[in-house]
Symmetry: C2
DNA sequence: CGGTACCTGGCAACCGCTTGCCTTGGCTAG
DNA sequence: CTAGCCAAGGCAAGCGGTTGCCAGGTACCG
């Protein structure tokens, strides 16, 4: 049988109350007794029962993280960051994978958040309304998504696209494609907008919207054919997996990357895997997770607070960085006519 | 404030005891009252406090999964399977990532297992002794590792290697390399053994042991150079990431895959990513996870039971399947002399 | 030297739920 | 008609901690 606080108290010759205080509020107990209790606890291998403690204190010491797909390196990276930071702060993490099912996601949040001090939600596709309702009276931080009145941590998609566009522009590209993520994805909408702003406003590039694709290599394969058919010299993909699929498909179709078409990914989840290695907008995924944990536990992210004050200091945006590798190069010189420049 | 059982009882006009029974042991309560309680619970949006319930029942409804690296698709896959099965069975899952640190791993098991009904441990590198000690009086199932007296779920590494070897043999390869995983990895030792048994015993192939490598693409890059230097026509890697690294490095070094060298991976974690697509020994990762959950919750996997009976029905081995894709082909005909056959 | 303030530590209630035991009352059987 | 039985539901005791409140002791002050 595992040692309880009463056992420790008995062994130390004090009351349970004193034992409790000695361990969790040491300054309230005289050093001599405190030492006695500590020794007893040590000897008995005492570990407080977190469930019992949670019952009285109202805090469980647990967090909960809901993601659509742990197999997606994006979310795996976030989960790692969450996990690590939570551990440093003495919290355990419930992780729930919804298999991309928004209904299940909501269900998981409802079930698990009750057992945790706070919940981190990655839910790219849930409707704003449902998400707002779901997070109304819960202690929640949104990850990679923004919603008025809810604390959140996102990445600077606008700047990411700006960097990507500037890079392509410098390489001489003038017509570029965008292979988007799933319909309804919040971050995809932000990326698409960011791209258009940067392309039109900044550099007067033309953008061809190729449509929506599954955020996977297979999705990218489909996109690849559209890229091949469009008269563009570069394409930016919703994420790295799509970019990988596009690159591969173009190769199969006899187009060279980057000689014929440049490809840029997003997230930097695949590193140098693939050939040529992917140029991509890098996100520090683990940091995304750890910052979210901090925000969640800071107490600043209390229910409805941001809504009440109108302040948005609870909305954090993380910087991104373009990493140039092998899939981008100078735009091909058009073979159409003899007019140079 | 959230509704408690007393609230429900009051609303239904019964005692808390009756309310409790109506909800968790309906057959003990007369239908009329039961309906009353159910309605009240419904109206109040009652959700039992799992921590409190756990305090009395001793069961928390939580599981715990400890893995060395969530970013590794192998463990992400297992985690998905665990998560899904646990959810079906009404359990929540604590996931802990140890960042490949065996000491931290042990610590996590100790801390988290107390809050859970059972623990799933993926710990490829911990020493047998430490692992045995750690799992001595805990309800634990080992995943992808076997230890006498402890329930476990593994994959049939021997058969996997047998299939790989048979494939290579049929293609005419006679000298093959093995690019191993990290020193001390349990599954790597099994795979290495399996390979040797299959190669020597079955087909009289020669095996060149290339050594130990980090189970990552980068590890594979290093291995690639050794492959290039060894006079072998095929190589089997510890896992897919290593295989990917090898393939890429060989390409850089001017060797063609599979024309010059055939490459086989293990785990099937990268799918058709990479070019050519990787031939690999496929594992059903999610199934590995879900079977482990079943074993854990079956009650069969009780502490020390297998040790007592000597039975090994608590040690499950899952089948694997060679998936032939593009990185394996006929052995090159030696250009050394003119003697054909 | 008496009074007071302060520091320590114990008592006991309580967090929300489960469950052993007992009471009550309606039936059946002898 | 009464004894016996069973079903239904309430009482209360926890599960393992925490914490408000109070008592006793000590030190310090006047």
């Amino acid at each position: 049988m595992v040692a309880t606080l009463r056992d420790v108290a008995r062994a130390a010759g004090v009351s349970p109350a004193t034992a409790s205080r000695a361990l969790s509020a040491p300054e309230l107990v005289a050093p001599a007794r405190r030492a006695l209790v500590e020794k007893a606890a040590q000897d008995l291998g005492y570990r407080p029962n977190l469930a019992a403690r949670g019952l009285t204190t109202g805090r469980t010491g647990n967090l909960c993280l809901v993601v659509p797909d742990l197999g997606n390196p994006f979310f795996a990276g976030v989960a790692k960051g969450v996990q690590r930071r939570a551990r440093e702060l003495g919290h355990a993490v419930f992780v729930a994978d919804s298999d991309e099912d928004a209904r299940l996601e909501a269900d998981l949040v409802e079930r698990l958040s009750a057992q945790a001090d706070g919940t981190l939600v990655c839910s790219p596709r849930m409707s704003d309304e449902r998400l707002a309702e779901l997070t109304a009276d819960r202690h929640v931080v949104l990850v990679n998504r923004r919603l008025p009145g809810r604390p959140s941590v996102v990445v600077d998609n606008t700047d990411g696209m700006r960097q990507a566009v500037r890079h392509l522009h410098a390489l001489g590209h003038r017509r570029i494609g965008y292979a988007g993520g799933p319909e309804g994805s919040w971050s995809d909408a932000r990326r698409r907008d960011g791209l258009k702003v940067a392309a039109h406003g900044l550099h007067r590039l033309e953008v061809v919207d190729l449509g929506h694709f599954a955020p996977t290599v297979v999705g990218g394969t489909a996109a690849g054919d559209l890229v091949a058919a469009a008269s563009i010299t570069a394409v930016i993909a919703h994420n790295d997996l799509v970019a990988l699929g596009i690159t591969e498909r173009l190769r199969v179709r006899g187009r060279s990357v980057p000689a014929d078409v440049s490809v840029i990914g997003y997230d930097d989840t695949v590193g140098t895997l693939g050939h040529p290695a992917l140029t991509t907008v890098a996100i520090r995924l683990a940091r995304l997770g750890s910052v979210a944990v901090d925000l969640l536990l800071d107490g600043r992210a209390s229910t409805g607070r941001a809504a009440a004050t109108g302040a948005d200091e609870d909305d954090i945006s993380l910087p991104v960085e373009l990493v140039v590798r092998g899939t981008t190069g100078p735009a091909p010189t058009p073979p159409t006519d003899g007019v140079s420049r």
